[in-house]
Symmetry: C2
Subunit: 245 residues, 2 copies
């Protein structure tokens, strides 16, 4: 196979980089690195294992898709005791939508690790979500259910899932904050700056000041998300003053 | 609520029976009995919890359906390394088909425990499969992932899943055995008898004799299944003689 920097034949140094990047994304150390490598191989790379079976992320994607759905189902079941089966199904679809997963995979910079013969610029957006699902499948195989649940909590539920927003009750916390400030004739200011910290992934930090006082801080992988997160925090902090709208 | 023998207001004696029946079905002791009770409440029973939320098996069915799919996905992933994503998806659909799950729930006698206002005879076949899925959800909540996987292995994979049969490569092991006996001019005989053993569920046992010698025994919840299972065992025992067809 004449394939440059093939992750299956890579050197210790490249493995080390892969291991480090992966640890950052997962939040724990991977054990069986070869399982994760598979999660990043596009079918165009045309790699086969010693038994001649195609080796790419599609089978892991099948597994991860199912696992992701299950963890989200359990989360929703426990989180929304008043939601019936139809509600739970609808909410789960929103959380695991293509759009959502693509955004997530893009934020994590998963494409960086992908092996393919096709130039990466030729891929559509779905590659991000597909690889993310494959990664979930790899975690499940490598470390089992508990770690898989932990990974999904860290990378999907905690940063992305807001039941009220999903229900469409709140479109944007930022707009709620702006509206409130205008009504109250208070100044507001979002100070956003790049803050990578020790993360391999680019992060943005934001400080939200209202009437000259910093009321909330947040950090996320995009400016928009960091602002939204800080606004949400401010919203809950100010909720008594603002009244529940 | 004027509902006779309501499992939520039942006496210790009825709870004891439910516990025993459940332990038999699960293969382990349930811990939180109230979680399992919910798995057997049809919406027509119109039961609500203290917060006014509808209490029936539909939410658990949502959870169990997802969990079942995940366990089957993992099983197929590991069992069929040569199957691509399309193959795995197709096989999973066959295993968790309505027809299949209804048969399974019926064999386990789940309807016996169902609470409803509708006469049980009015239910369609889907009640069996729906309640089975809800039961999977209950196991997941009560005992976690590992027990859930164990339960599905015991009640779905071990007794029902035969990859070759699902692929349509083998229609019936019984017919293979009969065909072989006729070619070889050997007599064959299936001796079936009812054999409940200590099980709450009715079982059948079968002895398969070829040329006067017992070559396989099996036990299952229907005559047909017991015969098929004994034939499969005989098939593998005789495979060298029969050749792979």
């Amino acid at each position: 196979m004449n394939f440059p920097s093939n992750i299956f034949t890579s050197h210790a140094k490249e493995d080390g980089k892969f291991f480090e990047g992966l640890t950052e994304i997962l939040g724990f150390k991977p054990k069986k690195l070869h399982v994760y490598k598979k999660a990043f191989v596009h079918r165009s790379a045309n790699i086969r294992d010693k038994d001649g079976n195609a080796m790419n992320y599609e089978r892991l994607e099948f597994l991860g898709d199912s696992m992701l759905g299950t963890i989200i189902s359990k989360y929703l079941y426990l989180e929304v005791p008043e939601g019936d089966e139809g509600y739970l199904t609808k909410m789960r679809s929103k959380i695991v939508s293509r759009k959502h997963l693509n955004e997530l995979g893009k934020d994590l910079g998963l494409l960086h690790f992908v092996e393919s013969r096709i130039p990466k610029s030729n891929f559509g957006d779905n590659i991000h979500g597909n690889v993310f699902e494959a990664l979930v499948g790899a975690v499940y195989l490598d470390r089992g259910y508990k770690y898989c649940e932990r990974f999904i909590n860290k990378r999907v539920i905690a940063p992305y899932v807001d039941i009220e927003q999903l229900e469409g009750k709140v479109i944007s916390y930022k707009s709620l904050i702006i509206e409130w400030c205008q009504k109250q004739k208070k100044t507001f200011r979002f100070d956003v700056y790049e803050d990578a910290g020790n993360d391999a992934i680019k992060h943005f930090a934001v400080k939200l000041a209202i009437g000259g006082n910093i009321v909330a801080k947040a950090r996320a992988t995009s400016k928009k998300k960091a602002e939204e997160r800080a606004s949400k925090r401010a919203f809950y902090a100010l909720q008594d003053k603002m009244g529940k709208s």
